[in-house]
């Protein structure tokens, strides 16, 4: 095989990335892609940049390229040989860095890693050798990046196989202490992770002592390869270790040293270190978490999300053994302040609002996984989080939700005033919908309405006002019908007492049946009928006026002023829901209506369907009719075509004409032009979907 050019590789890499599975499938099973890639890695004609790009394929899709451990082992051996050939030049540092990461990735993900694998043993000794070059003494600062990658690779191995370095803690600790260049972060994280894993495993398995563990300077614990996924923060509460006072002291000195140097790390690394150490302390009950105290003021004052989160996690783990009641109140106030700090970006503020709803209290009342208000979050404290029209939608809804909870769970004039403000805010959103705020404003208003109804649905006066607002909006913008239907459906699900959705349905019904049928009403009529069909499902809403409205329509149709197929179908959807409405509407009136449609509606398909309904109404008892028409009715399979039994909201299922899954007819131009396919005519965009 000859070596491909750089451009050729670039193209291959791009098409591989665009669809890795398809790329490999297209090349067949006896593909030489991987072999070619490995071979060209040692070519001198390709630039380092190209080689790094080639390596990223193995780095990101190792299991696609190496389907089994044997291939993984082979690839790793080849890359190790490759690494060995590369000179220690700063220019090649980036490539060597990548090779180390790829080696680990391939060995781990193909399950090739283990004591029996020569490549794994070679890889580990290479990493440990590289990591032992403390403070760049052997290779100079030019190789520091490679050393950092070695530390990172060692850490990844310890992550994937917890306990792998549990017998070498002392040597890891000594490296961590000696390293002074910025790579010290890598050594610190490696050590803290190995320490955490070792302590957790000790608590799990109970073999050995803490003292031996900390002083461990032996080989690798290869049996850890079977530990994947065993060390999880979720299981930590159940673990317990009670070391001797001497051991506790030893551990304390290790932890203090790590904590004292923690400020030298980047914030995410600090947060990781704190989390590892906190987990260690959580298991070792003989050491007080007060050791973290010195870090807290720094953490409380931070602008960095990872550090603030670390302090919240410490609080969740140690509660009042680390945080006094005063600390708790202070942290909560800080959190409220940060949830609306004008200097912070809005995704972060939203995260803090979410943290408020899961605030780790010293004495939690709730379960912790559900949203809940901390007891200390009073209306006074929360009032700075009132939503405004200038908030982005996410912020507005998050604040609305929080404030609603605050007002709901507190009593007194402040909470009442709060409810009033929240309501005013919802009404102000309605104004933006009326002010043609577009899609976004509409979505926002309906979501806010949903939240309001969910929390305050039992307040008749406010809800009546909200109903008026919604009816007013519908009068102006009939295209809001789907939003209203959705609101009715969703509030009915979420409210214990569905009185409000019912009264909203009634109000909408009254509005629609009272509307004059004046041109150009064709567009709006589709929306009206859609909404009427939904309202006809409400058992508590009398439907006499709906029938009268439909009769008016049918008269217009008879007069030739209305005969559209879509309108006809929409009209029949309402009838369909009326057929099994409880209490049943005047059936003679309904029968008369269906008969008129079946005789005089200008569309044959509509006539047919109406005739069918008419027959059903005349021939079936109420019970049977209900069973037949109920969504997924019992008699469906046996007696009726699926078109009527299906849910009337579902356009496709309710059609008497169904689109064929495949083209029935395809016109093809004879050569040389491209074939033109003529798909089945799609349904026209029409507001009336049935």
């Amino acid at each position: 095989m000859s070596v491909r050019s750089g451009e050729s590789w670039a193209q291959l890499i791009t098409s591989f990335r665009a669809g890795p599975t398809a790329f490999l499938l297209a090349r067949g099973s006896d593909d030489t892609f991987l072999a070619e890639l490995l071979q060209d890695m040692s070519s001198e004609r390709l630039s380092e940049q190209t080689k790094v790009s080639m390596l990223t394929l193995l780095l990101e899709f190792p299991t696609l390229l190496c389907p089994d451990p044997e291939v993984g082992e082979r690839v790793a051996s080849s890359l190790l040989a490759n690494f060995a050939q590369l000179p220690h030049s700063p220019k090649l540092s980036w490539l060597r860095h990548h090779l180390l990461l790829v080696l680990g990735t391939v060995l781990i993900t193909t399950d090739a890693f283990g004591e029996g694998s020569q490549a794994s043993r070679d890889y580990l000794s290479l990493l440990l050798h590289l990591a032992s070059d403390l403070n760049d003494q052997r290779q100079g600062p030019g190789d520091r990046g490679v050393r950092a990658a070695a530390c990172e690779s060692l850490r990844e191995l310890e992550c994937c196989y917890p306990g792998l370095f549990s017998r070498r803690l002392d040597s890891l600790h000594s490296m961590q202490q000696q390293e002074l260049t910025p790579v010290h972060q890598g050594y610190t994280l490696l050590y803290s992770l190995a320490l955490r894993n070792a302590v957790l495993l000790l608590a799990c398995q109970g073999e050995g002592t803490l003292s031996d563990l900390l002083a461990g300077n032996e080989g690798l614990a290869w049996e850890a390869v079977g530990n994947a996924g065993t060390v999880s923060p979720a299981s930590i509460d159940r673990l317990l270790l009670l070391p001797t006072p001497t051991e506790t002291k030893e551990l304390k000195s290790v932890l203090s040293q790590l904590l004292d140097g923690s400020y030298l790390l980047t914030p995410p690394a600090q947060s990781q270190l704190l989390w590892h150490l906190a987990q260690v302390l959580c298991v070792i009950r003989t050491q007080s978490p007060a050791i973290f105290k010195a870090q807290l003021v720094r953490l409380f004052g931070t602008a960095h999300v990872a550090l603030l989160h670390a302090s919240l996690q410490l609080k969740g783990l140690f509660t009042d053994s680390l945080f006094t009641a005063e600390d708790e109140a202070f942290l909560l106030r800080r959190l409220v302040g940060m949830a609306q700090h004008p200097a912070l970006p809005s995704p972060l503020k939203l995260f803090y609002v979410d943290c408020l709803l899961h605030f780790p209290e010293n004495r939690p009342l709730g379960s912790g996984s559900e949203e809940g208000l901390p007891v200390l979050l009073t209306p006074r404290l929360a009032s700075s989080l009132f939503p405004s029209l200038f908030n982005d939608p996410g912020t507005m809804l998050a604040r609305l939700n929080l404030l609603s909870l605050v007002c709901l769970e507190n009593q007194g004039p402040e909470a009442e005033r709060g409810v009033g403000y929240i309501f005013e805010h919802v009404l102000a959103l309605a104004d933006t919908v009326a002010g043609k705020g577009g899609h976004e404003a509409t979505g926002l208003f309906f979501r806010a309405t949903y939240l309001f109804a969910r929390y305050f649905g039992s307040r008749p006066q406010l809800m009546a006002e909200l109903t008026d607002t919604l009816v007013g909006l519908y009068r102006q913008h009939c295209s809001l019908a789907p939003n209203l239907i959705n609101l009715l459906n969703e509030t009915q699900v979420v409210l214990d007492d569905p009185a409000w959705p019912t009264s909203l349905s009634k109000a909408l019904l009254e509005l629609i049946v009272g509307m004059p049928l004046l041109p150009p009403w064709e567009q709006e009529l589709g929306w009206h009928l859609k909404l009427l069909a939904r309202v006809a499902k409400e058992s508590g809403v009398p439907q006499g006026s709906t029938l009268e409205f439909l009769q008016r329509l049918v008269r217009l149709a008879g007069a030739g002023r209305l005969g559209d197929w879509h309108i006809g179908q929409a009209l029949l959807s309402v009838c369909r829901n009326l057929l099994h409405h409880q209490p049943p509407p005047d059936s003679s009136q309904l029968a008369e209506l269906l008969q008129v449609v079946s005789l005089s509606y200008p569309d044959v398909d509509v006539q047919d369907r109406a005739r069918f309904y008419y027959t059903l109404l005349l021939c079936l008892s109420g019970d049977k009719l209900g069973a037949v028409l109920a969504p997924g009715g019992r008699l469906k399979a046996r007696t009726l075509s699926s078109s009527i039994t299906a849910d009337s909201e579902n356009f496709a299922a309710a059609l008497t004409v169904h689109p064929a899954p495949q083209c029935l007819l395809q016109l093809q131009r004879e050569a040389p032009a491209k074939p033109i396919s003529v798909p089945m005519p799609a349904s026209q965009p029409c507001p009336a979907a049935f």
Partner: protein
Amino acid sequence: MALRGLWLLAYEHGAGGAVLFSRRYPTVEKRAKAFNGESYVNIPEDSAFLKALLFELKLTDPDKNFVEYRDSCSRINKTSVYALPTGGGDLWPVLAFQKSGLIYVCLPLVEQSLKPRPPLISISGISQAFALLSGLLVFINCSQKNKAEMNAKKQPVWRISAYKGKPQVNVCITEKVKSMQYDKRDVADMWQVYGTVTCKCDLEGAASNVTVSLNLPANGSPLQDILVHPCVTSLDSAVLTSCSVDVMDDSAFSGPYKLPFTPPPDLFNLCYYTSQVPVPPILGFYQLKEEELQLKLTLNLKLHESVKNAFEYCEARIPFFNRGPVTHLEYKVSYGQLDVSREKSLLVWVIGQKFPKSLEISLTGSVTFGSMSKEQPVDPICTGSTAYVKLYFRIPDYTLTGCYADQHSVQVFSSGKPKISTSRELISSDYYIWNSKAPAPIVYRTLFF
């Protein structure tokens, strides 16, 4: 930090989306499988991932009026964390930030089962993911040099480049003032000040330490909600005690606010704060009345006597929404000059560098509009007579809180005597004065009177 994936996507309204960059971490994926157990959901290939994300962010089918899955009122995203529907289940927690045509996305590892979904606060990788994306967003074009010098002491990891040259330290305090003024009896006006202290320290030696003290004069307003950069090595707890959510109390700590730190090599934000000042710097009064075919407007502005009357610029912008272009304008200003913007939908009252001696200025006028066209701006809030005036100004060498840092308040512990420069400024930000003759959106609510 453990990430399962990282993506940078481009999205343009109407043109759809594209994957600019993507990166997966198969070893982390392997851990995710072990930790998540049965609740594990595979990451789809990039094209499917992009599609699912755009759908979840409600960026698909912009022409469709209502799509149940996308627009249902019960689908409420209260954070930037999303669940992407994929063939194998919902991929969660996908963190996504949208900013200027780009979507920054990552998927952190969750070291527990995803069913039931754990609260975000319990996922240790989530804040690191937030930090990563925020950092990416800020520094997307920034590359850092990776040179460091050896030192006998451990170096902070964030101080990786060595400066060679004349040592200097620059400290700048920028205060922004927001305001909403209504001139109504039942609605409280709102104003808020927030400050950012930025620093640039060009110092030789990786171990140099700097202490900046922020000072307040005797009548200054205490700094609240102070958030400091992680390079600040220690903090007196008194610095943090004042929170904007508390009731103001006279015994509040009023500085000096000492911030000792080991500086990063680049420009950075040393701290942020907010403050409550007793009065807004400019008090406004705006009345707009619709009379027959024209609008009559009156605008009065008064600079508070305590505020430094030396602006770099000061102007009042009077936009008109949901109307046609301005066809006729008659006006009288007591000071400055009035221009009509090119688009004919905005009046700009240029006040200039100084208010007159009386500190009060006024504008009266009447405006007539042509018929509405597509080019004219629309706004869902400013309908009817609801309207605002927005003020833009900058006052150099001045802060509303009085906060300052000078030569004596910057201490540098390093070799050589650095040149220290300090500056401060006040800038308006969202400074609105609403028409008092019409309803206006209220942004600040207090539950106590």
